[in-house]
Amino acid sequence: MTEKKTATYVQKMPASWWLRNPRYLAYMLRELSSIFILVYILTFLVQILLLRDRNAYDAFLAIVESPFFVAFTAVAFAFAVYHGVTWWGLTSKVLQISFRGKTVPPALVLLGAIMMWAVVSFLVYLLLFRGV
């Protein structure tokens, strides 16, 4: 092969690329959601660790019951739901479930997955708060 001598102009991606269209933004929010979920899980783990020490646990409760932390938890919850819904949205497109030789439409797979998710969430709720 002959060596290329053509001058080329290299296009660089701007740092603001994710603002270019709503789908890129939705993707970035999905990525960002993991940070909120991580912080929430870490706090939860700390809470479990502190169960051994009554005083430390009470002090910790005072922190998580502060308005700031309640607001953070609400945002983290919203992000967790967003992450879950979009994750199932994407997964439903990837899963190719065949039924009687035909592929089940992604929208139907998504519906099934969300319903299953809701049922499991309800069971967890019963287990934790109703002591079933």
Partner: protein, 244 residues
């Protein structure tokens, strides 16, 4: 009075300047014009120095991809009347080095395409007199969608992962690997998977999904990449535990 339209074209003329610049063209407009017609009009009637690739004019050859109003699309399949903005902006495909005006350097993709071996691999080739390899319609359906790829590179322009790191094998090459891996006549699955699970392969994809949105042939590269992650994991397991 005849209708007119304004095209703002990003130009790069290495013989004149190291930097690209924008040039405005005001040309006659008709309802049935696609962006490619406008570019051809400019080239034929207004400014013959404007360079752009095209061939079939009907969404088959995959030559005329460009950023049209910021979205990668085929110029031949984009009607001017579909574009809402007053001025139509046409730029070379994102993420590729520009050779001249709207002409980008495709070499990187061509190399990657060869790496995934987009052809039927047989352990032993059947002699011609033994006839063809038969497939049922169901077997064809497994890869039919991905076989529609026309290598137009529009998916690469939409992929921020490729934009940030051009080492990434990218949507079309992996979709074509999927197409051959799903083909009942092929026996090169593991060979391709070795490349796909390697450096800058399927695991680099974070499923932005934009490649599948912009694909003019509805190939769904994003879906194909995710579907390869499971056989890819099995392949890695097999190499770690050769006797499995």
């Amino acid at each position: 009075m005849a209708l007119e339209i304004v095209l703002l074209v990003k130009r790069f003329r290495p013989e004149l300047s190291k930097e690209p610049f924008y040039q405005e063209y005001q040309i006659p407009y008709t309802e049935d014009m696609v962006v490619l017609d406008a570019l051809n009009y400019i080239n034929d009637e207004v400014d013959s120095t404007l360079a752009h690739r095209w061939s079939c004019r009907m969404g088959i050859c995959g030559s005329c991809g460009a950023m049209i109003n910021g979205t990668p699309r085929l110029a031949c399949a984009t009607f001017l009347r579909q574009l809402t903005r007053g001025i139509v902006e046409v730029e070379p495909l994102d993420h590729f080095p520009v050779i001249k005006d709207l002409v980008v350097d495709m070499e990187d993709f061509m190399q990657k395409l060869a790496e995934v071996m987009p052809w039927l691999i047989r352990e032993k080739i059947k002699p011609l007199d033994r006839g063809e390899y038969f497939q049922t319609p169901g077997q064809i359906r497994l890869y039919g969608q991905q076989s529609m790829c026309i290598n137009c590179l529009i998916c690469y322009s939409a992929c921020p992962v490729y934009g940030l790191d051009s080492e990434f094998l990218g949507p079309a090459a992996i979709a074509l690997a999927y197409r051959y891996n799903m083909d009942s006549r092929d026996q090169g699955r593991e060979k391709r998977l070795s490349r796909l699970v390697g450096k800058s392969g399927v695991w680099d994809c974070t499923y932005v999904g934009e490649c599948s949105v912009v694909c003019p042939k509805d190939v769904d590269p994003a879906g194909a990449i995710q579907r390869l992650k499971f056989p890819g994991s099995l392949h890695v397991l097999k190499t770690l535990l050769p006797r499995l």
